[in-house]
């Protein structure tokens, strides 16, 4: 449309609209540039800064960061002490993922297959409710409950099972003086905080299992148990894989839960936080922060094989 075709009274708004209507690329650039600049400069820039920092090192004598590319900070990750921290974190993430699966599966299964409309709405709300509540407050709730004088000890005592709790706490490594200062406590809180992330994709995957498959399986003579293990469970695996991405990744990166509940043995997140803060060793903190990203890259590659991305 040529400018001559415009009525003489065309307002500024009309003119601008027409300009962008005839030049869609200009419109796209105008809309997309601000968010791209923000995310590109602030977010991607920061990620590169993180990567860059891990190639610098802190001079042992002056305590100052030396801005020369070197691999010595990344090599420090493979010192036995640091390897221990990495193994401990990855092991905790695996255990948390398994327990989330074990607790989440029956809940999701019941929700997807047996709950009526009303019951399903209640279940859904009950799974989302904790997810919507403040993260710190939820961790705090467990600090209240796991304390030596807290409600869990009381319940065990009332049930006459105090000896069982003591026996569990007496176990080497995972035990401790009380639940709130043991690995068991840390694990319980992790499971509690990330459980909804496992349930939601799992429930969605179970719901997508076509009813006709289950009926066909029954018609062909399979008992319910067989139908479950040969039809339903295999079809739910993408959902489990998708949920496990969240539980695994979130546990790897968290530093607040092991800081508040658990034996004081460090996890990756805790050392990242400690090194960037008072220790002032940002290069080593950056190197440690790259570990969860690298582990997650491997984990995502495995999860993809199980069809996790189709269930997200």
């Amino acid at each position: 449309m040529s400018a001559a075709a415009l009525p003489a009274t065309a307002s500024l708004g009309d003119r601008i609209s027409r300009y962008f209507y005839t030049r869609p690329t200009a419109g796209l650039l105008l809309l997309l540039t601000p968010p791209l600049l923000w995310l590109g400069i602030i977010y991607l820039g920061s990620l590169f800064a993180l990567l860059a920092q891990s190639f610098f090192y802190v001079d042992d004598f002056s305590g100052k960061t030396v801005y020369q590319p070197t691999l010595r900070t990344l090599a420090e990750l493979f010192v036995p002490v640091n390897l221990d921290i990495i193994t401990r974190t990855v092991a905790m993430a695996l255990v948390v993922t398994l327990v989330c699966g074990a607790i989440g599966f029956p809940l999701a299964y019941y929700m997807a297959r047996f709950a009526g409309v009303r019951a399903k709405a209640i279940f859904y709300l009950a799974v989302m409710l904790p997810l919507w509540s403040n993260y710190l407050v939820r961790v705090y709730a467990w600090k209240l409950m796991l304390a030596k004088e807290g409600v869990i000890t009381w319940v065990f005592g009332k049930l006459g099972l105090g000896w069982l709790l003591d026996a569990v706490l007496a176990l080497p490594v995972i035990g401790g003086p009380s639940l709130s200062v043991s690995y068991i406590g840390t694990c319980i809180v992790f499971v509690y905080i990330w459980l909804p992330y496992m349930i939601l994709p799992l429930e969605a995957a179970l719901e997508r299992v076509p009813r006709s498959y289950i009926e066909a399986s029954a018609d062909l003579g399979a008992r319910p148990r067989e139908t479950f293990s040969h039809v339903i469970f295999p079809l739910a695996i993408p959902g489990i894989a998708a949920g496990s991405i969240f539980t695994f990744s979130l546990t790897l990166g968290d530093y607040i839960i092991p800081n508040l509940v658990g034996s004081s043995r460090p996890f990756i997140g805790m050392v990242v936080y400690a090194y960037q803060g008072t220790a002032g060793n940002i290069p080593l903190a950056a190197a440690f922060a790259i570990v969860p990203v690298a582990v997650m890259a491997v984990y995502l590659a495995i999860a993809k094989r199980f069809g996790a991305f189709d269930a997200l």
């Binding site: 977010y43 009950a126 710190l136 409950m145």
Partner: protein
Amino acid sequence: MRSKAKADTRMGQRAGWGLKAAAGFGLLFLNLPLGFILLYAFSTDERSFSFPLPGLTLRWFGVAWGRADVWAAIGLSVQVALAATVLAILLGTVAAMAMYRFRFFGKESITLLILLPIALPGIVTGISLRAAFALGDVPFSYWTIVLGHATFCIVVVYNNVIARLRRSAPSLIEASMDLGANSFETFRYVMLPNMATALLAGGMLAFALSFDEVIVTTFTAGQQKTLPIWILSELLRPHQRPVTNVVAVFVMAVTFLPILGAYYLTRDTHDASGTGK
């Protein structure tokens, strides 16, 4: 649904007791702890977390009300959340409009870029910003906190707005242009009313997300205390536990209301799109 349940019964497939118990345990496990937070806000016990509670009192609500440091933390949190929400609404909306309207090379990588801040663990976002501030010699300030929060709030607004745009009929926009409205008028009278509740819902979620955030904030706040940071420091080094209990209940209420509001605002549209198909 009822006929479904009947079919299950016919096939001998009702939920067994074991499954019911396991599902019930899961629900209890997820929701019981929130009840304890509420309960402990009324405890007379100052030193420990003893259960059963030695007594009930309303005293700590008054004490918490009079604490200047709590008010300062709430003030900072609200200011940060407001600024982050405004930035997120502006950037998230234009991003959603661009991604909805245009098809172009590299679109997928831009979607990934928008999602990345919530896909990567918070600690990576946090330490990245911290590393960048260190490289650029940026001192910690109110704006360093807002910067971090806005970055991960954009995606919340973006998701809400683009979901709404995808559900709305493109013919409305075409009709508006055919009737002689220019882009601004179409946006003002057709698109904006259509997006309004999605924007409000996205904004409320962004506010709640920012008000709650602690992991990224610990890396970008320096010595400043937002409300979650205040709680965290109280949890690490308790001064007055009952005050912390009361603040915990307060935080739960403040984040809960906007999320519930957002849920109600977007709920009807989900139903509408569901029945329409």
